[in-house]
């Protein structure tokens, strides 16, 4: 049987922060079930708590209420996150950065070397393994960050707008590569984005969130067949129609958020 990533069940998740004016609710009453090996994209206006949700999944923050359960039996590493600004350590070479999550877990030197070799090949950074991040372009740094996550072989890949800072060409290339790598490995992916296009090109389902507090407004199935040619897909009429649907839902939310803040 094909090996698939973790199943995630989120039930009534809530996160609040103490703030100057009392308590700010970042996300409230979030219910979401994610199947093993599913690619789920989360879109929503700024401040809808999508990053907070991801940080809770990553173990970087703890929820104030609700239950998060992850079924990742048989996986050594539950999750690995790819951050918006690569987050490669400037003081480590590319190969040391990529091997970081293996070193921290006490993997043997020889095994680290072999797995890092493979991950660098996967993202096309073999020639740059001895470079420091500042010597690389933004796109190459993001490849390094993806390699660092994949090399740990996580059951879940968490991605927080990983390509938002890239130019359009680099973004398209990396999106296509991510889809290719995901189709080969079938990890569960939770992918945050503010781009509807990106959500439809990459994901199996798109979760639309509302702002203040962050709640799930709607979950849309993305019916396009795989393997996907993401560039060709974005030109089809079905793609355009679905994009418009989601935009209508989001627009309402963006307007509502603006009314709350702009007087």
């Amino acid at each position: 049987m094909e090996r698939r990533g973790a199943a995630i069940a989120i039930d009534g998740l809530r996160k609040e922060y103490a703030s100057a004016g009392g308590v700010t609710v970042a996300i409230d009453n979030v219910d979401l079930k994610i199947a093993p090996g599913e690619f789920v994209c989360i879109v929503g206006p700024s401040g809808c708590g999508k990053s907070t949700l991801l940080r809770i999944l990553a173990g970087l923050e703890t929820q104030s209420g609700g239950v998060l359960s992850v079924e990742a039996a048989g996986w050594a590493v539950q999750n690995a996150m790819v951050f918006q600004e690569s987050g490669l350590f400037p003081w480590m070479t590319v190969e040391t950065n990529v091997g970081f999550g293996l070193m921290t877990r006490g993997v043997a030197r020889s095994e680290i070397d072999a797995r890092v070799d493979g991950a660098l090949k996967l993202v096309g950074l073999t020639k740059f393994r001895r470079h420091y991040p500042h010597q690389l372009s933004g796109g190459m740094r993001q490849r390094g960050a993806i390699a660092r996550a994949f090399v740990t072989d996580p059951a879940i890949l968490l991605m927080d707008e990983p390509f938002a800072a890239l130019d359009a060409q680099n973004r398209a290339i990396l999106q296509a590569e991510l889809v290719r790598i995901w189709e080969e490995t079938r990890k569960t992916v939770v992918y945050i984005t503010h781009s509807i296009d990106e959500a439809l090109m990459l994901g199996d389902r798109t979760v639309i969130m509302t702002a203040h507090p962050g709640r799930i407004k709607r979950i849309v199935d993305v019916p396009f067949a795989r393997p996907r040619d993401v560039m060709a897909l974005s030109g089809t009429p079905e793609f355009g129609a679905l994009k418009l649907d989601i935009w209508r839902v989001l627009e309402e939310e963006v307007m509502r958020a603006r009314e709350e803040f702009d007087l």
Binding site: R55, L60, T104
Partner: protein, 257 residues
Amino acid sequence: MTRAAKFADKLLYLVSPALLLGLWQALLMMGYGDRRFIPAPTDIFWRFISVVSTGELEQHVAVTLWRTFAGYFIGAIPGIAVGLLMAMFRPVRIFFDPLIAMLFPIPKVALMPLLLLAFGFGDASKIALVATGVFFPVVVNTYAGAANIDRIYWDVAKNYGASQWIVFSRIVLFGAMPMIFAGLRIALAVAFIVLIASEFVATKTGLGFLIWNSWQLMEVDFMFAGIVTIGLLGLIFSVVFDWIEKRAVPWKLRDRG
């Protein structure tokens, strides 16, 4: 940068000291100033050569260097450690904050009598003074460097399963490294300042003693030879420091030429 441009930079680097020396020499040769009290650069140079050839200067330099380095390491290593721990652990920070705020502004030379009482008239009191002078700039810079490490690196460390020890040895130490070096550089200057001042009193060796003693004997050219030696040592250390920093911080953008 091209080779020619680099060479031009190096030449320019020498212009200001050369102009200063030339002006100094010219004024004295034209009869402005009394050469008994203000020796010309050439007088200092010849006196410098003669005291180097007798080995007198080297003795003082050796003593001063020993005190500087002993104190420097005794002060800098705990400074780095405490600075990093302050950034990592809140209780450590709360414990050290008032001590540093209170003790940092005290001119370290003012501690000399106290240190003489505690450590006697030998090298120990001078080394202790240098160590105290070095500790504060190093601890403050190290802490600032470590505390300002971008939050994303702490997140990455946590998400990728780093232990406290790995966070300390692979993230905090390296993340603070550029600022640690800034602190070490300031500390080196402080080390010389407090040591030379302390050698004015209660010792018969070291460059500080040489300068003070020559002044009292009105051997002004010998005094200047001592001052020039300190300047030369500073220049040498600055070059050595750059060399070490380039190797210790290889990820720092190196477009400063």
